[in-house]
């Protein structure tokens, strides 16, 4: 009895330590965002201030980086989600001997360090886009290369998300539609795509976020342009200012809000699914009940 109590106490203490490690640095950073000294310090707390947030708002480079990050994120989603979806469909139809190689090639960006993806993207596309002055002027810039470089691994994330969802796809649905006279493209648009909708939503969210947060690939592919993360990296390299803490506070605030909204939506969806299931069961029972007298009279 006492030993299990000790055990439970130890587990509790361990979990406490783990989350102290996880949140401690962030909490300290959060405090420095509201403290007035220009060197970010949490202790002693001199006086409460919001100046660092104002400074952040007025930082031109950071705002420009933020705009670029959003553009790149949208571009990456526009390339990666369709590419991942197409690859997940082709995965099932490709010549069986080539499947292993195809899988290896498409997931290899996940097993490659981000710096290498960035370097290879720049080296390759510099020569490809350099073939004519027009393509060079139009496309050889940081935003295009960042989209191309990041898409290589974001597409792989999307592929895995779609493959996981497709394993639960009931082939009977497709066959039923075909028997009823639907064409294959119709099956794709009216059955497969609606079935994949939740996977598409999560692929968009995960794709955008991993593009937005990426540093290793972007720092090479971005060339002379900047994203929010590369601007941040430059500032951290130069020194420390509480304005960075202020930015972190904003990001944590947004993510907490996102997490809460996500949790609420998930709960609601779950209860709706349960209700639907209950209704379906009820309908089934009444249907069986209605069908039985009919057969008995016949």
């Amino acid at each position: 009895m006492t030993s299990s109590l000790v055990m439970r106490g130890m587990i509790g203490f361990y979990i406490f330590l783990f989350f102290a490690y996880l949140f401690g640095p962030l909490v300290v950073m959060g405090i420095t965002a509201f403290n007035s000294p220009s060197y970010p310090q949490a202790f002693p707390f001199e006086s409460f201030t919001l100046d660092w947030f104002v400074k952040l708002w007025n930082d031109r480079a950071m705002m420009e980086g933020l705009t670029n990050s959003i553009i790149i994120g949208l571009g990456v989603v526009a390339v990666s989600v369709p590419a991942g979806l197409a690859a997940s469909i082709i995965m099932n139809q490709i010549y069986h001997r080539a499947r292993g190689l195809f899988y290896l090639v498409t997931v290899s960006p996940l097993l490659t360090p981000g710096v290498i993806i960035g370097i290879s993207t720049v080296i390759f596309w510099k020569d490809v886009l350099g073939v004519s002055d027009v393509t060079k002027a139009l496309f050889y810039n940081g935003i295009t290369l960042a989209i191309l470089g990041q898409s290589s691994f974001v597409s792989a994330y999307c592929l895995l998300i779609f493959m996981a969802r497709l394993t639960r796809f009931d082939r009977a649905q497709e066959e039923a539609a075909l028997d009823l006279g639907a064409s294959y493209p119709q099956v794709f648009w009216h059955i497969l795509l609606p079935f994949l909708k939740p996977a598409i939503v999560s692929a968009v969210v995960i794709g955008f976020l991993s593009s937005f947060e990426n540093y290793n690939t972007t720092t090479f592919a971005i060339l002379a342009d900047k994203t929010l993360v590369t601007v941040l990296a430059g500032q951290v390299r130069q020194g420390t200012t509480p304005a960075l803490s202020a930015l972190a506070v904003i990001i944590i605030g947004i993510s907490l809000l996102g997490a809460i909204v996500y949790e609420v939506l998930k709960r609601r969806e779950q209860s709706r699914a349960e209700q639907a299931q209950r209704r379906a069961k009820l309908a089934e029972r009444t249907e069986v009940g209605a069908a039985q007298p009919a057969t008995s009279t016949a």
Binding site: I89, Q93, T112, P113, P185, N216
Partner: protein, 334 residues
């Protein structure tokens, strides 16, 4: 330029070989119910799928990699000299990794940075496994569903803050004017601030902190599906707790362990932010060497060669892990 063009042809040749094999097999075992690719997907969708996958797999993955490898076998040239008579195949870039620039003796700086990165990454991987395993086991086997859900949420939230800011937050803690030194000095444990960043404590903590989640999720997923009755049975038969882990949980969770370790190692060995912001002034991480070749020396060929060495080390490590844990690649990436 010619060697670069040859490389571009390789993937197309491979695709053509597979296509011919498929055609040959289809014609051999003539199957009337079999539908061709365009019959199954329709012309428009079929073309769209192929175009998208070709753009990705060829132009964003295979060709850039191959092109980088070819570039690494070229000499360092000014842009105007590319494609000229000096643009020949050479292994000079790889030689310079082993040989000192003066020509006598070893290039200890770069080889040292390489070895240090690999060994430190392995250490961080082991550390993260030790930190994450107990929590993953608790979440998977003894936590109540509500608690587990809360823990999962608490794990994910900090990871929305990007890598740079997380490194920054650790720097605030570990700097000589940071909170930990304030505490140490305030309590009288030390007189002078401890240089945590200089002795690389910051680097190890930063790498471990950055990739906790990458370790914990594969472990959790793997242990979660283990039947609780197995542990119960072992306990009833009198097995001590460490035997339960050694003989039941760890063998069962092998794919998860392999997956977590591979990912953490790879991310650590290829990381740029933690060594740049938390490493000591004399510490040279291998990605920083590559970074400097690109941005300070503008020596892309050398940078490409070093990047390829890093890639080779990572591939070797992945294969070693797969062999060691006897799992397949498909099980590792989920």
């Amino acid at each position: 330029m010619s060697s670069r063009l040859v490389v571009i042809a390789i993937p197309f040749v491979v695709i053509a070989i597979f296509w011919l094999m498929a055609r040959y097999e289809a014609s051999r075992r003539h199957d009337p119910t079999h539908k061709g690719y365009f019959e199954r997907n329709g012309m428009v969708l079929g073309i769209a799928f192929i175009a998208l996958v070709a753009l990705w797999a060829l132009f964003l993955v295979v060709l850039p990699y191959l092109y980088m490898v070819v570039e690494s076998f070229h000499p360092t040239l000014r842009p105007v000299e590319r494609g000229g008579p000096k643009d020949v195949l050479t292994i000079a870039q790889y030689q310079s990794f082993f040989m000192a620039p003066t020509g006598d003796g070893w290039n200890t700086t770069h080889m040292g940075a390489f070895l240090f990165s690999i060994i430190a990454s392995i250490a961080v991987t082991a550390l993260n496994f030790a930190i994450c395993y107990p929590l993953a086991f608790y979440m998977a086997q003894s936590g109540t569903p509500q608690k587990v859900r809360l823990i999962l949420l608490a794990l994910i939230v900090p990871y929305w803050v990007n890598e740079i800011l997380r490194a920054f937050s650790l720097r605030l803690l570990l700097a000589s004017k940071g909170l930990i030194n304030q505490l140490l000095m305030g309590s009288g444990l030390t007189d002078a601030p401890v240089d945590f960043l200089g002795i690389n404590v910051g680097l190890y903590v930063g790498l471990s902190y950055a990739y906790l989640l990458v370790m914990i999720f594969p472990l959790y997923n793997a242990i979660e599906s283990l039947d609780k009755n197995q542990i119960e049975a072992a306990r009833d038969l009198g097995a001590p707790w460490w035997r339960i882990h050694k003989d039941i949980v760890i063998p069962y969770a092998k794919p998860g362990i392999a997956s977590g370790c591979t990912m953490v190692f790879m991310l650590a060995a290829g990381s740029l932010a933690a060594p740049q912001f938390l490493g000591g002034p004399r510490t040279l991480w291998f990605t920083s060497v590559i970074y400097n070749f690109f941005f300070q020396a503008f020596n892309w060929a050398r940078g490409a060669a070093y990047a390829f060495l890093l890639l080779a080390a990572c591939i070797l490590f992945v294969m070693l892990m797969l062999r060691l844990f006897k799992v397949s690649l498909g099980e590792t990436i989920k």
